[in-house]
Symmetry: C2
Subunit: 232 residues, 2 copies
DNA sequence: CGAACAATTGAATAAGGTCAACGGCTGTGG
DNA sequence: CCACAGCCGTTGACCTTATTCAATTGTTCG
């Protein structure tokens, strides 16, 4: 572990049971979790949480910030698979495989709580509940992946960007911090920086979208939805 | 259930435990499964197994043939999410959601065994093992989806087709039946019929690929791999 | 303040899509 | 048994979309 900064000490216990995700399992699980060694780790923008191909020893819960999961082609192009938001879990390849099949890095900054896969055994009888939880999350993620496959495979650049923005700014008519750079948006949508930039410029001109500082606001959500489904 | 033909009777019990996938759970599970109502259903090429948005009541095990899972855009374009092969399970949206989030149809022909989600409860104490099994399958599928996202988002048409063909013809230098039509390959790779056709023609000319009847053979697997990773 | 980096914009190019015509196979009905 | 319709695949010419290349501006950070 090189560029990893522990938030307080080397192994600060992580209050996993505070999180809604794990809270659904009830108190018995929370109690059980207190037995499981877990620690809190903080990452800066340039840190790598884990790399594809590396031994998959931990399962992660994102406490604060955003994390991008991505894969890299043989020719060096990155494709962002998913953007993880606070409260979500990621990196559960270790439950099945020896190695991670993708890489994980923060967007800007991230605080995670991680549990060693080996230590999951300590949960004893509660373990099936964890697996059920992960199964549920996994199916949800699979549905999300299906949707993204549809976007990458069957939609034009403007449709892709529009539906990404709609998903990102889930609050209507409010400023939403855009954590991703143009490059990261491009890598997420399978496009180039320039294409993203041009679409932004066009939509700003048309009064569809506004941007100030690092934040954006969708001015005409209805029209943006039309663009996303190409009902123009 | 309209265009559904039951293989023998209305509810022929399905020997689920014969399948490698479930066999991993051991004999106790096989015994338990005999209690669970499941039936075998046969579909022709034009039948629909289930449609996106429909109530997700069954979980399926493909016994014979191939099944395509796909989503449709608002404008009517289909994107094939995954091609299911014999022995694999699909349609487990019902474990989490009320409705299927994608549609399922056979390629040519399919025989499935299905279990009502409600009846999975009958497995009682053995249920955690089923959930673990599904979790494992689900993670595997997620990894597969990640790979496909990389292909659709970051690769050119020739790279996509080449890596699809390499995956499809896993046996080296042997004739492999190509179950998919040009249209279906196009819908899988996010391309058009014409593009697929042109690449096939080019590779046949170059002696990379051969096609007779409904079968194909990769003549130069090494070179095909180079195309897939654009090491040209 | 200047160096590095991020975003914008324009012009040229390439990749793939669209449109259209044609060939070939299959299955059906006279 | 043949003729023909219908479907699938092929091929060519053209067009659209998005990428690439390049120059410029804006932004952030030491």
């Amino acid at each position: 572990m090189m560029n990893v900064q522990y938030s307080v000490g080397q192994s600060k216990p992580c209050p996993v049971h505070d999180f809604a995700l794990f809270a659904t399992l009830g108190d018995t699980f929370s109690d059980a979790l207190k037995v499981v060694p877990s620690d809190s780790v903080e990452y800066a923008a340039t840190d790598t949480i884990y790399s594809a191909g590396v031994s998959a020893q931990h399962i992660y819960l994102l406490r604060d910030g955003y994390v991008k999961l991505f894969k890299t082609t043989a020719s060096g192009k990155d494709q962002i698979i998913r953007v993880v938001k606070a409260g979500e879990i990621f990196g559960f390849d270790g439950l099945v495989d020896i190695r991670y099949n993708h890489s994980a890095m923060p967007l800007k900054h991230a605080t995670v709580c991680r549990i060693a896969v080996d230590n999951l055994d300590m949960l004893g009888a509660r373990r099936p509940e964890v697996e059920r939880l992960i199964m549920v999350r996994c199916i949800k993620e699979l549905q999300h992946a299906d949707e993204r496959l549809l976007e990458l495979g069957a939609k034009r650049s403007d449709e892709r960007l529009a539906s990404f923005l709609l998903g990102w700014c889930n609050a209507a008519n409010r400023w939403t911090p855009l954590i991703l750079s143009r490059l990261e948006i491009a890598q997420l949508l399978g496009l180039t920086i320039e294409t993203i930039s041009r679409l932004f410029a066009q939509w700003k001109r048309e009064g569809l979208l506004e941007e100030k500082q690092q934040a954006i606001q969708i001015l005409d959500r209805h029209k943006m939805k039309q663009v996303a489904d190409s009902n123009v």
